[in-house]
């Protein structure tokens, strides 16, 4: 019984939101905003679960001599942001929280992001080998596109036509086809969820 009732809620709320899409009235607009806020509010409260899970696992690690230092670093980072961020205005420039944000969070994020420059190179070196027809096509296309940056004189003259053609025709076609496939697949998944055929995510006892 407990397993069945949530499925009805999925069905009910799903159908209401579909119908809402086709109604332009003010009540319908309100419902849309309200439903989206539901999702946000559930997310706000769920954050406590996440924080709890994180802290519990880190406090446990404090007992392990090998992990102790790193767990302490994480907890230090977490609590310093909580304490320095107690006031709303601390999110703005001029506070300790903002300094940490600017000089710890931002540079680390940007540096992790920039690792991609190295990884595109190593992935290209490893993956772009003409083992099969498919790999060869992948390799050649990427090669032509990347070669547009090199000043190769007459080769560049010819290459640019290849670049323009690839981008305007097969690249465009591939994007459209994948998008349409994704659309059908996503809608089918939604229907399966709403009809309760796919329900493993909801759990039962």
């Amino acid at each position: 019984m407990r397993k069945q009732i949530p499925i009805y809620f999925v069905f009910g709320s799903g159908i209401i939101m579909i119908v809402q899409y086709f109604i332009p009235s003010e009540e319908s607009d309100w419902l849309f905003t309200y439903a989206n806020d539901w999702v946000i509010v559930v997310g706000i409260f769920a954050l406590a679960l996440g924080i709890w899970s994180l802290l519990r696992s880190e406090f446990r690690k404090l007992k392990d001599p090998k992990e102790r230092f790193y767990a302490a670093v994480l907890l230090f980072g977490f609590f310093i942001m909580i304490f320095t961020g107690l006031k709303a205005e601390n999110l703005e420039a001029g506070s300790l929280m903002f300094d940490i944000f600017e000089n710890v969070l931002i540079p680390i994020q940007a540096t992790i992001f920039s690792l991609l420059a190295f990884y595109v190179a190593s992935a290209a070196y490893r993956a772009f080998r003409a083992r099969t027809v498919l790999a060869t096509i992948l390799l050649l296309t990427a090669f032509i596109i990347m070669a547009r940056l090199l000043p190769l004189g007459p080769i560049s003259e010819v290459n640019q036509y290849g670049v323009a053609w690839i981008l305007a025709i097969p690249n465009m076609a591939a994007k459209r086809a994948i998008t349409m496939g994704v659309g059908l697949g996503a809608i089918a998944t939604c229907i399966k969820i709403i009809l309760g055929i796919e329900r493993t995510y909801l759990g039962h006892d």
Partner: protein, 274 residues
């Protein structure tokens, strides 16, 4: 392990090291590398080059500071090119947070050439709703912008005496990072048929080649590479060209590694067969 096998199994750290080196070197010792130019940028250069003193072009500075890194070099290069040829430039901005920035760029370049606002160029300012703005500029600048950015009545400007709307200018170039580009294609070129060219960010670039193919735009400047090409063509070098050495070298390194890995692959395959 044979030599050919080794070519296929170079430790990834050597690849990283090479990328690191080619990015660090230009940062320490700035230098220039040649840039190969493409047809889509050359066409825009040729268009401005073909203008004679007194001809009109419309330059839409339709981006805001968030994308200035990629689009600023285009603005500088085209303005320099146009002013150096005494072409009359009409500009406006269709991006909400862009007008102040656009005005700074425009006056900066204009001053270098001793150009006067209202006489040699004019800045009309910003209007919301790009589709409507483009449509009405296609009919009459005065209707869309009764006053220019500085509050001067547009019909009193000397530069405006020869022309009335976008159909009277020789061509339109819009530099943009958003869907304004689509509005220019649909409502500008689509409705009035004036020659249109776009300068867009590198990420957007790929999606606009189809309009080049279909003839809806006559030229396209995609991202910093396109900007650098324009700088090379026109001889006005700014930040576009400066960021090219990093790109050329790193792309070169990646291509080199792809070639090495394939040489290794084919050679070892051949060896195994024999």
């Amino acid at each position: 392990m044979t030599f050919w096998d080794k070519l296929m199994n170079i430790d990834r750290r050597w690849v990283y090291l090479c990328i690191g080196i080619v990015v660090i070197i230009p940062a320490i010792i700035p230098f220039k590398v040649p840039v190969s130019t493409t047809l889509e940028v050359e066409r825009i250069y040729d268009f401005v080059e073909s203008c004679e003193a007194g001809d009109y072009i419309y330059l839409g500075i339709d981006y805001d500071p968030s994308t200035l890194a990629e689009l600023d070099p285009m603005t500088y290069a085209i303005l320099n090119h146009a002013f150096s040829k005494d072409v009359n430039v009409i500009t406006a901005c269709l991006s909400q947070f862009g007008p102040a920035m656009a005005e700074l760029r425009l006056t900066e370049v204009a001053q270098q050439y001793g150009k006067e606002s209202g006489k040699d160029y004019c800045f009309l300012g910003y209007r919301p709703y790009p589709a409507i703005t483009i449509l009405s500029m296609g009919l009459d600048f005065q209707v869309t912008f009764p006053l220019d950015y500085y509050g001067v009545p547009v019909d009193s400007l000397e530069i405006m005496q020869g022309i009335r709307n976008l159909q009277d200018v020789k061509g339109v170039i819009s530099l943009t990072a958003g869907n304004v580009a689509d509005f220019w294609i649909t409502y500008g070129n689509g409705r009035f048929g004036f020659p249109l060219a776009l300068g867009v960010t590198g990420v957007m670039g790929a999606d606009y080649y189809q309009y080049l193919q279909s003839g809806q735009i006559f030229g396209l400047i995609p991202g910093i590479k396109g900007a650098a090409e324009y700088e090379v063509l026109s001889g006005f070098e700014t930040t576009g060209l400066r960021s090219i050495p990093y790109q050329t070298l790193s792309h070169g390194v990646i291509l080199l590694f792809i070639i090495i890995s394939n040489i290794g692959y084919f050679a070892s395959k051949r060896k195994k067969r024999t």
